[in-house]
């Protein structure tokens, strides 16, 4: 009785602990584990026994191809869905993260979380720009861009559905804020004219935004004179001169926000203190890195929760599939395993061989799943409603880290799916096993 309880408890520990270790361990830790395992297989006596038992097991896989493929495809499904969903979150996060930096800061009305909610009057904007922490260009003008964000309704190219597109009026110094900014085709807009330049993602997504075309904004015709690539989420936007946007949308002299380049990242605290202590200013400042990171948090978290939930449930399904397959596998190999035991193989090599076989199938499944996710979804373009109530275009990103996460899941499922059949194989009475047909 007690022995049995002890056995069950130790099996549970043997099942749970490695899975937790697997989840916590970084990729290099798993690689180190693999190296250790190979060393054990090659160098010790039990290791060599396990190795040859595994070789026998693997050589019989072709006879059980149908049921072995259940393990591979079941796990491929889990890993594929997980990696694809996480790639969506990763792509969205990366796009917004690239938008921010530590040495530029965005100033909004106190209490506003997004630019579209914010109003900064002209006097405050000038005061902010003139602060000593703001970097100046060669002509000694502060690098500060008063910006207006409005949303326009433009149909998508793909399905004709009206979408909110962000129109950003930017100041003369906007070009100095982002060192990666460049024009792909055409030229910058001229200030004072109703001219637009379009981000390279916006051109792809939205109708009437190609070079040279005319777009109606608030019933006034605007001409598209260029396409830009800023390497970040501004690529989903249309840019124009702040002054002209303000006139078109009856905004007077106020703007939505002011973005400034700081002398260096270190002066941010002083800059914030200067704004906070100035009684004339009812403004809040944050680095653009924090501002854009916060915008991606919500959606990234939702997708992570969704992806993990779906993968856990699918994983449970795949786990039972793997258990079925491996129990069937050792059942058909009963005589083989009994023979191995009879000629002197101990329990451990048998356990290891069944486990290794399952892990091999699982890793194969993980690779297949990650590869499918990569083939179908890497650089897949999607868009969603961003913080300014307009579309943010982003690409799915299947990164090596995500693939490693997928493989970890595969290993965890494979381990659990192989452990119980392996233990049964090792505990099988040899004499009965030999009599099996």
């Amino acid at each position: 009785m007690w022995r049995k309880i002890g056995y069950v408890l130790s099996v549970i520990v043997a099942a749970v602990v490695p899975v937790i270790v697997l989840v916590v361990l970084p990729a290099w830790g798993i690689l180190a584990g693999v190296v250790l395992l190979i060393a054990w297989l090659a160098l010790t006596r039990t290791g060599r026994q396990a190795w040859s038992a595994t070789a026998v097991a693997v050589s019989t896989i072709p006879q059980r191809l149908g049921s072995s493929s259940v393990v591979i495809i079941g796990i491929a499904g889990v890993v594929g869905v997980l990696v694809a969903l996480l790639a969506m979150a990763e792509g969205f996060r990366a796009t917004l993260q690239q938008t921010g930096s530590d040495d530029t800061a965005i100033v909004l009305r106190a209490g506003s979380q997004t630019e579209i909610n914010s109003v900064v009057d002209h006097d405050s904007a000038v005061l902010v720009a003139d602060m000593p922490q703001v970097m100046r260009d060669k002509q000694n003008r502060p690098i500060a861009s008063p910006e207006i964000v409005v949303a326009a309704s433009i149909p998508k190219k793909s399905n004709g559905v009206d979408s909110n597109v962000e129109i950003r009026g930017v100041g003369d110094e906007a070009w100095e804020l982002n060192p990666r900014f460049r024009m792909v085709t055409g030229r910058r807009f001229r200030s004072g004219l109703r001219e637009l330049i379009v981000g390279k993602d916006a051109v792809r997504e939205f109708a009437h935004t190609d070079m040279g075309s005319t777009l109606d904004l608030n019933n006034q015709p605007w001409t598209v004179v260029g396409v830009f690539d800023s390497g970040d989420s501004h690529n989903s936007e249309l840019w124009a001169d702040t002054g002209v946007v303000a006139t078109t949308y009856h905004r007077g002299s106020s703007t939505s926000s002011v973005t400034v380049r700081l002398r260096n990242a270190g002066v941010f605290d002083a800059f914030r203190a200067a704004i906070k202590t100035n009684p004339q200013l009812k403004l809040e400042v944050q680095t653009t890195r924090r501002y854009y990171d916060a915008q991606s948090e919500g959606l990234t978290r939702i997708i992570h929760v969704l992806g993990t939930t779906v993968a856990v449930i699918m994983g449970i399904g795949a786990l039972f599939g793997a258990l079925n397959t491996m129990y069937a596998a050792i059942a058909t190999r009963t005589r083989e395993i009994a023979t191995l035991r009879a000629i002197g193989f101990r329990g451990a090599p048998v356990v290891v061989s069944v486990l290794l076989e399952t892990l091999l199938l699982a890793v194969l499944g993980g690779i297949v799943g990650a590869a499918i996710a990569w083939l179908l979804f890497d650089h897949y373009t999607a868009s969603t409603l961003g913080a300014n109530f307009s579309q943010v275009v982003f690409e799915f990103r299947v990164t090596p880290t995500l693939v490693a996460t997928g493989i970890k899941w595969a290993l965890a499922i494979g381990f659990l799916g192989g452990l119980f059949p392996a233990l049964r194989a090792a505990r099988m009475p040899v004499t009965e096993g030999l009599r099996e047909l």
Binding site: G111, F320, N324, T384
Partner: protein
Amino acid sequence: MKYLHLVWSALLRRKTRTLFTIFAASAAFLLFGLLDSVRAAFASSGQSVPGATRLITMSTQGLLGSLPLSLLRRIQAVPGVSSVTYESWFGGYYQTPKNELATQSIAGNYFDVYPEYRLSPAELRALHATRTGAVAGAALAAAFHWKVGDKIPVQATVFPQKNGSNTWIFDLVGIYHVSDPREQGKESQLFFNWDYFDQATAFGGGAASFYIERAARLQDVFSVGSAVDALSVNSDHETKTQSEDAFTASLARRFADIGLIVGSIMGAVFFTLILLTGNTMAQAVRERTPELAILKTIGFSGRGVLALLLAESVLLLAVGGILGLALSVVAVSELRARLGAQIPVLPVGSATWLRGVALMFAVGIIVGVLPAWRGMRVRIVEALSGR
């Protein structure tokens, strides 16, 4: 039906394997139940009965555009319009920015156009009589433990008050309910008087975000929409009028193509499930070949064996599927209790059950047909002699 016992004992032949397959199937149907209720929440919004004759007019500048109040009288005069109301989007949050609210300021006749929001006459009178009055949906009130009589401070995200304060304090005078369970996503809004908003806001007053019209007859919906848009063509506040379901569908699509995401996941899940149960059935038939031969010997026809085996695989999936869907009912009600207002999830409805049962049959037939075919073709002599 009289062979149910036979089919059942075939499943019990290998208890572990059957159990594992059932668990795998129930995992698949648990996911199906969860995802289908999310999908249905997006798909069914705006398909209520009173919604059929409703139209929503918004600015062509998008969701945050505003429309002058002068439009109200002109829309009322459009032939075919039986009533018009308006609302102004307010937004805001409660206590922390994470608790975003769907707050709107509404015109006095708003609840006439939205009869599905059930509010007692006394509560409605209280809303009209209290300048700072507000009514909350039952789900929202439950999430934050609000009750009638509470003062609710809402932090504005867009509209500060004229006195510079960012905090609007509302007196909760009523809690409304929505009876149709498919529409319960609507129970998470907060409404207050447009007049109060107009008087107190620093900017954005004197205008509406949306006009909502009711067409007198269903067949008028389309013509009313065009006539309303014609009112402001070539003005600086051009409008776009859509039927309510077109409006909500386009709104949901702005977030993501929910149907595509759910569809892809379900595709992967059921492909895997078919393979997995197919393997189980193939194994079951393979190891039972001699038994099938005996069945045939005692007089079962080939078709009889085929039917028995198909019934076996359908039963296998039905047990797993019903277990999974039952689990999803529990999981969904738990989710709704925890998340409440934040994520639209509908209780698992009869439509989901119907689709689920159809899927169980379909998958059962698909995975059963090949092994059953093989079972039907078993030759008695060969099978019995173990060849």
